[in-house]
C-alpha cells in the first residue's frame, strides 16, 4: 500500500432508514489540508465523526497510517481517537476546567504525562494559539473566538496525526472569525494535516490543497480550490460555491 496518512474507502452511514453517507472515498497525505463544503444535512459532520469513530461507519474502511481502524475492538478505539484531533462547532470545552486544564487534561489522563511536563506542554500550545495570557480563565470567561482557540490548543496538545475541524467558525460573531482562521492558517503553514468543514472560502483558497464538494452523502466534485472556483465541471458545484461566496464574502475580505 502507498504511503497515505488517511484513506477513506467507500464509507456508508445510515441513521435508521436515512442514508447519510453513500460511498465516500478520499485519501489524505501528510500535510494535506482538505476543505469540505456542501449544503446543510449533507453528511459533512457525519463524515468527520466517522473518521474519529464517534459514529463508526456502517460499511467501508478507513485506514490510518495503513492500519485499518474500522474493525477495531471497542477497547482500542480511544487510542485511535487520541491520534485524531477534533475541533467542534460549539467549542465543546470542559466548562469546569480552566483553559490550561482543558488543554492539559488529555496529556495527564490519556498520555499519562507527569503534571509538570503536561502543564509545560499545555502552556506551549496555549501560546501557539495566542492565549497564554488567559490560561487560568474558565470557558464562561472567554469570548467565542478565545474558546475556539482553546479548543484548537486542546486538540494540538495530543500531537495528533491530523485534526478534523467541524465548522469551527460558524458559531462565532463575524468579528471573531478572523482570529480563529488565522490560527488555522498558521497550523496549515506549519504542515499540520487538516480536514476542515467550513464555508470560509478565503481560508480554502489560501491554504487548502483540495476542496471537496459534497451533496446528499456523496462527493460531487473535488479539486484544487482555484480550479473548483473557476472551472467546476458540475453545475451544482458552481451554483453552491457562488452562493456561499455571496454569503460569506464579507468575512473573507477581512
Amino acid at each position: 500500500m502507498e504511503e497515505n496518512l488517511l484513506i477513506i474507502e467507500n464509507i456508508e452511514k445510515a441513521f435508521g432508514s436515512q442514508k447519510v453517507l453513500d460511498g465516500v472515498s478520499f485519501k489524505l497525505n501528510k500535510g494535506d489540508v482538505k476543505v469540505i463544503v456542501g449544503p446543510s444535512g449533507t453528511g459533512k459532520s457525519t463524515l468527520l465523526r466517522c473518521i474519529n469513530l464517534l459514529n463508526p461507519p456502517d460499511k467501508g474502511r478507513i485506514y490510518l497510517q495503513n492500519t485499518e481502524i474500522t474493525q477495531l475492538p471497542h477497547s482500542k478505539i480511544p487510542s485511535i481517537r487520541q491520534k485524531i484531533g477534533m475541533v467542534f462547532q460549539h467549542f465543546a470545552l470542559f466548562n469546569h476546567l480552566s483553559a490550561i486544564d482543558n488543554v492539559a487534561l488529555g496529556l495527564i489522563k490519556v498520555k499519562k504525562m507527569n503534571k509538570t511536563d503536561a502543564y509545560e506542554k499545555a502552556m506551549f500550545e496555549l501560546k501557539r494559539v495566542g492565549l497564554d495570557q488567559h490560561k487560568d480563565k474558565y470557558p464562561a470567561q472567554l469570548s467565542g473566538g478565545q474558546k475556539q482557540r482553546v479548543g484548537i490548543a486542546r486538540a494540538l496538545a495530543m500531537d495528533p496525526l491530523l485534526i478534523l475541524f467541524d465548522e469551527p467558525t460558524s458559531a462565532l460573531d463575524p468579528e471573531l472569525i478572523g482570529e480563529v482562521l488565522q490560527v488555522m492558517q498558521n497550523l496549515a503553514k506549519e504542515g499540520m494535516t487538516m480536514i476542515c468543514v467550513t464555508h470560509e472560502m478565503g481560508f480554502a483558497k489560501s491554504v487548502a490543497n483540495e476542496v471537496i464538494f459534497m451533496e446528499k452523502g456523496k462527493i460531487v466534485e473535488q479539486g484544487p480550490p482555484l480550479k473548483l472556483f473557476t472551472e467546476a465541471t458540475h453545475p451544482r458545484t458552481r451554483e453552491f460555491l457562488s452562493k456561499i461566496s455571496e454569503l460569506y464574502g464579507e468575512s473573507e475580505k477581512k
Binding site: N52, Q82, M86, F88, H90, H96, K109, R154, A155
Partner: protein, 224 residues
C-alpha cells in the same frame, strides 16, 4: 423553670438521641450519595440490563412511602429470619430511600452536560468511564448541590419517623419526656428549635461547599 430542671436530667439521653439522629442523617446522606451515583450512572450509561434495573429500583423506592420501606425492613424481614436492630434497620431504610431521591437530583445535573463535551472527551482519547468521571460528574455534582443540600435538610427531619420502630433518636426521647412530664408544649418547642439549629448549620455548610466549588459559568441559582 420546672421544665428546665426536668430537662437537665434528660440531657444525657437527649444528647444520645441527637447523636443517633445525626448519625442516621449523615450515614444515609453519604452512603446514599454513593449509591445514587451508581443508580444514576446505571440509568444513563448502563447497558440495557442495568438501565432497566436501576430505573426499576428508583421507581419502586420513590413510589412507596418511606414508612412502608422502614416497616418492611424492620418488621417484615424477620419473617425470612433476618432480624435487624432498630438502628441497622433505620440506616438501611434511609440509605435506600435517600439514594433514589439523590439519584433523581444527580440525574438532572448529568443531563445538563452537553453531549458535545462528552464527545470532546472521547476525541482526546478518554474512554467512557473516564469521560463520566472527569468531565460529566464534576459538573453534574455542582449543578445538583442545591437539591442535594435540600435532601440533607429533609433527612434530618424525616429521620424522626424512625421512632416508630423504637429507635431512640431525638424525637423518640422527646416523646418519652413528654409522656413522663406532660410538658408537651415545652419539649416540642425545645426540640423544634434544636432541629432548626441543625438545619441552619447544614444549610450554611452546604453554602460553603457550593462557594468553594464555585466556577464561573456554573450559575445554579435558577435551580434553587
Amino acid at each position: 423553670m420546672m421544665f428546665f430542671s426536668k430537662l437537665v436530667t434528660y440531657i444525657p439521653s437527649l444528647l444520645k438521641g441527637l447523636g443517633i439522629t445525626l448519625e442516621l442523617t449523615l450515614l444515609s446522606a453519604i452512603i446514599g450519595f454513593f449509591a445514587a451515583i451508581f443508580l444514576v450512572v446505571g440509568v444513563l450509561y448502563g447497558n440495557r440490563f442495568f438501565k432497566i434495573l436501576c430505573n426499576f429500583i428508583i421507581t419502586i423506592i420513590r413510589g412507596t412511602p418511606m414508612m412502608v420501606q422502614l416497616f418492611l425492613i424492620y418488621f417484615g424481614l424477620p419473617g425470612i429470619n433476618i432480624k435487624l436492630s432498630p438502628l441497622t434497620a433505620a440506616v438501611i431504610a434511609f440509605i435506600i430511600n435517600s439514594s433514589a431521591y439523590q439519584a433523581e437530583y444527580l440525574k438532572g445535573g448529568f443531563m445538563a452536560i452537553s453531549k458535545e463535551q462528552i464527545e470532546a472527551a472521547y476525541s482526546i482519547g478518554l474512554n467512557k468511564w473516564d469521560a463520566i468521571r472527569l468531565i460529566v460528574f464534576p459538573q453534574a455534582f455542582r449543578f445538583a448541590i442545591p437539591a442535594l443540600s435540600n435532601e440533607i435538610v429533609y433527612l434530618i427531619q424525616y429521620t424522626s419517623v424512625a421512632y416508630t420502630i423504637g429507635l431512640p433518636e431525638l424525637f423518640y426521647i422527646s416523646k418519652n419526656f413528654a409522656s413522663k412530664t406532660y410538658m408537651n408544649l415545652e419539649i416540642y418547642l425545645f426540640i423544634g428549635i434544636i432541629y432548626l439549629i441543625f438545619i441552619y448549620i447544614i444549610t450554611k455548610l452546604t453554602d460553603i461547599v457550593e462557594k468553594k466549588l464555585y466556577i464561573p459559568g456554573f450559575d445554579t441559582s435558577h435551580l434553587k
